[in-house]
Symmetry: C2
Subunit: 211 residues, 2 copies
Amino acid sequence: MTNTHRSLQSRDVPHSSNTIWHNATVTRERREKLNGHRSILVWFTGLSGSGKSTLAHTVEEQLHQRECRTIVLDGDNVRYGLCGDLGFSDVDRVENIRRIGEVCNLFLEAGNIVLTAFISPFKKDRQQVKKLVNEENFIQVYCKCAVEVCEKRDVKGHYKRAREGKIKNFTGISAPYEEPDADLVIETDTVPLAESADLVVELLQKRGILD
Amino acid sequence: MTNTHRSLQSRDVPHSSNTIWHNATVTRERREKLNGHRSILVWFTGLSGSGKSTLAHTVEEQLHQRECRTIVLDGDNVRYGLCGDLGFSDVDRVENIRRIGEVCNLFLEAGNIVLTAFISPFKKDRQQVKKLVNEENFIQVYCKCAVEVCEKRDVKGHYKRAREGKIKNFTGISAPYEEPDADLVIETDTVPLAESADLVVELLQKRGILD
């Protein structure tokens, strides 16, 4: 039983003599059955510019065409929304990861395939999420890409500003990236995008997430 | 265009000469089409013991049987998870509401019918959520129930402890509840649960959320 199952089913509900009171009856299992697939968290990690978000969205497109229920969580819809009050200190980084893990739990409960795209450079942070959502709900995909390639892309200009010292503690330049023992490693600097997306979908099939 | 649409579509994605880069292509509209219903936030408000959670779960059961994609957010899966670090001070209460609103935005983007059950005693807090998710995504249901009836139920013993002064600022006893101008008012101390749920589902039909 997952955290979210427990939390949804342990509710004390009020009782009344003239009313039948209901607890949560719509469970993750029933939602998964309705959706025709299991829910799972696919955690994409890698350097800025390694193509995490792009890959996540490409996988999502494939899954949507198979009528899967999906959501992509990344910097754009989390960092500026739910975690908009957080900075980049150690304390805030940990709280950022915690909230993302909790939101993933809610989406897992809702029966979704959750695709996240965060640099998440530290092993302990990724481990924290894995623990929070429970191991069986967590698939890690490492978008492995040479920092030189990431820096050459540099669409947002982050690398340039990091080189100029205008961004401190920038992963790959002035801060470390700890490589994961991932479920899947994709060399996104050489493997074409469509092929990369196929690899992820194939893994989901192998793991019994899709039928 | 909603907040969530904007945030998902304004992304800068990296470009490369040998790869086609993709932005988010799976939109709220496509998910809604796949689901066969629109996404919406139904915000249940009322005193502790007024039956908000029970009603939300009963509505969810009806919607699930119609193959709608739903999630219930309430104290049990939010207060002890995502907002587990927050207390009940004014600052924390506002932050609690903000995070709930942001999570609702993500679920709206994902195409869900979100049913929330929080006391949310203050007009300004409910207004804050309404603004955060945008007015057209927000339906407010007031579970109107005499405090005497709520106190008589008191399954969790909160009212007893509030009367004993062991819980401070308890809504309905030692703190105010500001009645809303709700889209739907249900007198949960007299209207049977099944009938109450029907009223909510009928409203969703009238508003064009369900087909």
